[in-house]
């Protein structure tokens, strides 16, 4: 198993207010290819902050972050943008689909990177493949306003998958969905891990967490692995 992500002693301090607040306090975490990890914790415990550090939205104040064996804890924005598009797929609680674009165009959006777009043909096949993976290829031409929440979230997952990411980062992807639809979404995410993709899922739902390979608790910025009690 190749190690995709190795965090060690990651610390994030929020400044700006009267006194600095430590949001992440020496977090360590490794994720291998094909592994799925759940991160659970109370609201405000720092789960989203951790994901934004892993997804290179933000940089840690201390600690080491290795992606594919490469140290990237302090990376200039230009290279971070490249890595975001080459290594990560993101799914959020809200779907963030652009209302003025069709499902296919929304998915194609993730194919824009520093070099512009892929040629139209390749773009089409990859978008349709991604939509097919989450089971909604028939909705390619529909607009988000005409879709159910579950369908919209699956478009968002297709958008995350279209670049063949090495790691999927999902921040409460089922938070806005009913149990049944949520299960479908988790199915789609787990399907990606079978093709070797790593998955980090932030969730409040015990059942969804239990389907992951490992569960980590985040309490006041400190991450601990829950010992399996199967």
């Amino acid at each position: 198993m190749t190690t995709l992500i190795a965090l060690d002693g990651i610390t994030k301090v929020l400044k700006g207010q009267e006194q600095p607040r430590t949001i992440l306090d020496g977090v360590g975490l490794t994720v291998d290819a094909g592994q799925s990890v759940a991160i659970v914790g109370r609201s405000g415990s720092g789960k989203s902050t951790l994901l934004s550090v892993i997804g290179l939205f933000d940089r840690p104040d201390q600690g080491s972050y290795q992606l594919d064996g490469q140290e990237i804890a302090r990376l200039p924005e230009r290279r971070a943008a490249k890595l975001r598009s080459s290594h990560f797929g993101f799914v959020f609680q809200r779907f963030f689909l652009l209302k003025h674009l069709t499902a296919a165009q929304n998915v194609a959006m993730a194919l824009v990177n520093g070099q512009g777009w892929l040629p139209r043909r390749q773009r089409r096949t990859r978008v349709l493949e991604a939509l097919d993976q989450v089971g909604i290829a028939h909705l390619a031409k529909s607009r988000p306003t005409k879709m159910s929440g579950g369908e919209q979230q699956r478009v968002a997952i297709a958008r995350a998958l279209v670049r063949d990411p090495k790691v999927l980062l999902a921040d409460e992807p089922t938070g806005a969905l009913d149990t049944e639809t949520g299960t479908l979404v988790i199915d789609a995410l787990l399907a990606a891990t079978e093709r070797g993709c790593g998955l980090i899922l932030v969730t409040h739902d015990r059942d969804h967490a239990a389907r992951m390979g490992r569960i980590h608790d985040l309490v006041d910025g400190v991450l601990t692995e829950r010992v399996a009690v199967r």
Partner: protein, 424 residues
């Protein structure tokens, strides 16, 4: 190359998607900019039309830029020399003016000295060896004109506009009785005074019945009648033309570099005259006035354009505010900041260009309508083409407005933190 074009293309395509998604917004920002670009286009068009009109008037009265002009005293010898030298040439045309009175026999003209009808240049005078005194007799139904004899087609140098009838035809053999073309001032005078058609020229063999074939606009206030020199001389000897009582002006118009100039100069010198030659430089003479006019108009147009830019900026910023999530998301999926800024800039640039095209179209159509409605009564406006300078000025104005109005929103968009998507 492919990398660059791919990037450029994707900002354009995504920018276009953005415009299509927000048609009303785009329309709103277009309205203010439209007025600004329209102002620039109209000012530029007005300036070049005014410039052309101004120059056209100068060309009629002075001659085209670059024309060489030589004035010389009217004397028998120089008149004969000039007539012989320029005979049959088209690169040099001599104009010789004599006095002609058209009307009732034996009366003084209403405008002695061929004065413009609304001016009084004093009474007619007769001169002899002792001095001059007012001519005897009473004013009657007669009009005095400057009878201007032409050795060739002067319109090569001064583009007279034909008002009615025809211009003199220099290609035919000279007629026995001279054909005359009046200028506007003369035509007006004959409209005002119904005179018997007989023409007296001092020293002519006999009075003739003039044959008027047309009216032209020559830009002159003085009543004039143009005639072919070779037709006039069948009836009036050159010796009489040089008579100080009747003649007075002799002018030679030449193309730049015409071989006639050195010949005439040396011949005149041999006759004991010092010729005075100059070049017509209408544009240069008007430059200062035109520059000032342009400056005033452009500062006004610039002001209006600035308001347009403020409009596009305002709408642009509001749009970025609304699209924080979209931009954060785009950055999350790996769109670099520069491309994001490019997308916003592409949107305002496209809006600016679209607006410029609309404004140019509106201005061109407006000009067409105006020329159609008033072109007949305002000769300056008839036959006016939309000047291309105005089109270019409009496109530049649209581009500048797009860049200025899109720059700050683009910077804003590029600076949106990605983590926004996690906290929304």
């Amino acid at each position: 190359m492919r990398r660059l074009s791919g990037r450029f293309r994707s900002s354009l395509i995504i920018g276009l998607q953005g415009i299509r998604a927000r048609k009303l917004r785009t329309l709103l920002s277009m309205i203010s900019l439209f007025l600004g670009v329209l102002a620039v286009v109209v000012v530029q068009a007005g300036a070049s039309i005014a410039e052309r009109a101004l120059l056209a008037d100068l060309e009629i009265t002075q001659g085209y830029d670059g024309t060489r002009v030589m004035d010389m005293p009217m004397e028998q010898a120089s008149t004969d020399m000039l007539a012989a030298t320029v005979h049959g040439r088209s690169d040099a045309v001599a104009m010789m003016g004599v006095s002609g009175i058209v009307g009732e026999p034996g009366v003084l003209p209403v405008n002695p000295g061929a004065a413009p009808l609304d001016q009084d240049w004093g009474p007619a005078m007769v001169c002899n060896d002792v001095g001059c005194e007012p001519a005897p007799g009473v004013k009657g139904q007669a009009v005095e004109v400057r009878l201007t004899a032409l050795s060739g087609d002067v319109r090569k140098f001064r583009p007279f506009r034909t008002v009615t009838g025809q211009w003199l035809d220099f290609s035919k053999v000279p007629a026995m009785s001279p054909k005359l073309v009046l200028n506007r001032a003369a035509a007006d005078a004959f409209n005002q005074y119904r005179v018997p058609a007989e023409m007296r020229v001092g020293g002519a063999a006999a009075n003739v019945t003039p044959q008027f074939v047309g009216v032209v606009d020559d830009g002159d206030m003085q009543p004039r009648a143009y005639v072919r020199l070779d037709e006039l001389t069948t009836w009036l000897p050159t010796s009489r033309m040089a008579d100080p009582m009747t003649g007075g002006e002799m002018r030679l118009l030449m193309s730049p570099g015409s071989p006639v100039e050195p010949v005439v100069v040396s011949k005149l010198k041999a006759l004991g005259n010092e010729p005075y030659v100059y070049t017509v430089e209408s544009r240069k003479d008007q430059e200062k006035q035109l520059t000032l006019m342009r400056l005033v108009f452009f500062s006004m147009a610039g002001l209006v354009l600035l308001i347009g830019v403020a409009g596009i900026l305002n709408v642009g910023l509001a749009t970025v505010g609304e699209r924080v999530e979209e931009f954060a998301l785009r950055r999350a999926v790996g769109t670099p900041r520069s491309l994001l800024a490019g997308i916003v800039l592409a949107e305002t640039l496209l809006t600016g260009l679209l607006t410029a095209a609309a404004a140019i179209g509106a201005a061109a159509a407006g000009l067409k309508v105006v020329t159609m409605l008033v072109g007949n009564s305002q000769p300056i406006l008839s036959d006016v083409q939309f000047p291309w300078e105005a089109g270019i000025a409009g496109i530049i104005a649209g581009l500048v407005a797009g860049v200025l109005g899109g720059f700050i929103p683009a910077l804003r968009a590029a600076g949106i933190p990605i983590a926004t998507v996690m906290r929304a």
